[in-house]
């Protein structure tokens, strides 16, 4: 063992300096590579922190709340599998039987005290607690498609909708420029505007806007999307105008309805064909695809976020059981990453969080604010 650096020749003073310089350069190089991977040298790279900063620009600072879908309530219930999806996915959740659910209904947007309004996007998040510690977490919205198809698109949309510091209002020119650069958003927004808006959460259909893959016991996979379709009759929004001054009418109605009797949704799985695009959430689902009724979601209990079981849960779309896999949609990874950062921030801020818009008292009173 006699490599070059253990050579017997004595090293001159200049040699020592050169060698010290080399050691410094190599060590600095490794440190520099670490800093580069961490994004310190890349001011335009879209990082989790920059995404969070954009949410703050658009919505203001709301310590302790989720950065998006900030206003919500917790619910619990169960999923009764029909067994019909078991042939396509080996996930234990699809075998005939029941698994408990911890869910959350929310309004899109980062404002935890926004006034309920018919056109605001509604969401249903579900956490299926499978036997053996496996989980399936999914968030669904009452819109047919997502307005953007990339993390960058989402970020730019947030920036374009942020209030101008001078006027306190979003600059229409910025949104116009954003839409001009994103024709996929223009197409998606027109589909979103055409959707039928129902009177409340309980009769809304919620769609997984991203594609996933079901994997069967033999390892074969198919692209899928899923929806929860209400069993209770649907009523158009105009049937029940919000009472004047009731800022939480959508949540109050839901709480009152659940207290009256459990609310149910069918979990419908749409099976895609092999060449259906799965990486663009702005595209409408192709027509005439096979649908499977995987089972029934029953929600029988609501609670405020302040004492509910959904609060300490991150509805990360990549928490999946064996038998469900992510598709190639880049938004899945982007959402998982941004949710993780949002979850950490609100956990750090938990001690300064004010009570949620829908309080425990409001839920106990049966949803009357």
């Amino acid at each position: 063992m006699n490599s070059f650096w253990f050579g017997a020749r004595p090293v001159s003073n200049v040699g020592v300096l050169v060698r010290l310089g080399a050691i410094g350069a190599v060590t600095l190089g490794v440190a520099g590579a670490f800093a580069y991977v961490g994004g310190w040298f890349s001011p335009v790279r879209l990082t989790q922190d920059r995404m969070m900063a954009a949410f703050q620009d658009a919505n203001g600072t709301h310590a302790g709340f989720r950065r998006n879908h900030a206003k919500g309530v917790c619910v619990t219930g169960w999923f009764a599998s029909s067994g019909q999806a078991a042939a396509l996915s080996k996930a234990a959740v699809f075998r005939p039987g029941r698994v408990p659910l911890v869910g959350r209904f929310a309004l899109a947007g980062g404002m935890p005290f926004q006034k309920d309004a018919p056109a605001t996007v509604r969401s249903m998040a579900l956490r299926f607690l499978l036997p053996g510690g496996e989980e399936w977490r999914t968030g669904m919205n009452n819109i047919p498609v997502f307005p953007v198809n990339s993390a960058r698109g989402f970020y730019e949309q947030l920036l374009a909708s942020s209030p101008d510091p001078a006027t306190g209002k979003p600059d229409p020119a910025k949104m116009k420029a954003f839409l001009a650069a994103h024709p996929e958003t223009v197409r998606a927004l027109s589909l979103i505007k055409q959707r039928q808006v129902t009177s409340g959460f309980a009769n809304s259909t919620f769609n997984s806007l991203k594609a996933f893959r079901f994997v069967d016991a033999a390892g074969a996979s198919v692209p899928v999307r899923w929806s929860t379709v209400p069993v209770q009759p649907s009523a158009a929004d105009s049937a029940e105008p919000p009472a004047a001054g009731d800022n939480n009418y959508l949540f109050d109605d839901l709480i009152a309805q659940i207290a009256q009797q459990p609310r149910r949704w069918q979990l419908m799985v749409t099976i895609g064909e092999a060449d259906d695009p799965t990486n663009d959430a702005t595209l409408a689902r192709p027509a005439r695809r096979r649908q499977i009724d995987a089972g029934t979601v029953t929600i029988d209990h609501a609670s405020s976020e302040d004492d509910g079981r959904c609060t300490a849960v991150n509805y990360d779309p990549l928490v999946l059981p064996s038998g469900i896999e992510p598709s190639d949609d880049p938004l899945l990874s982007a959402r998982s990453a941004a949710y993780a950062r949002s979850f950490t921030l609100r956990a750090e801020e938990e001690h300064e969080k004010p009570p949620s818009a829908v309080t425990a008292r409001e839920v106990q009173a049966g949803g009357k604010s």
Binding site: M1, N2, S3, W5, F6, G7, A8, V11, V16, R19, L20, A22, I23, V26, T27, V30, A31, A33, F34, V37, G38, G39, R45, L46, T47, Q48, D49, M51, G132, G133, E134, E135, A151, T311, A312, V313, N314, D316, L318, V319, P321, S322, P326, D328, P330, L332, S333, A334, S336, A337, A338, F343, T344, R346, A347, E348, E350, H351
Partner: protein
Amino acid sequence: MTTQARFPAVSRLLHWLMAPMIVAMLFIGVGMAASVSPRYELLVSIHRPLGIAILVLCVIRFVNRFINPPPELPDTVPSLQRFAAKASHIVLYALMFIMPLVGWGMLSAARYPIVLYGPLRLPPILPHDLTLYAWLRDLHTDLAYLFFATFLAHFGAALFHGLIRRDGVPGSMASFGGGNVGQKADIG
């Protein structure tokens, strides 16, 4: 002409098995915490099982260290450097054991399923608690920076011994060629 006792073969194997895993782990960690790209999902799916693998190897390494104690540093090493070497090794050992546990613990406190591969999951080791999660999540980052800084010091010190002091210290861990366990290698 100096001679420096080499580390036993098992110790060298463990060192060179774990060194790339730990360095990769630090780079994956800092990269995934800054990413919203499709790489995020891939990095997370490597980070968790790799961390647990490091924890398992670390326990084996502790046991091995008792069975096969490391050789002493050369007598020529001044006492301050001797102290620095000892302290940095204690920090490295502590971190390679604590970091995976903090990671496992923080995922437990957040109730993220701890997925190793396919349906294989680890049970939670702490109660579901947001405040506890926030504390451990911050600790995980702080310890990662300390780990990287200590690794850099260790790496720089190895180069210093090899290029400046030329006392055969890197050679005691470096070579797999020739020599049996405990052999005194002539590295003069």
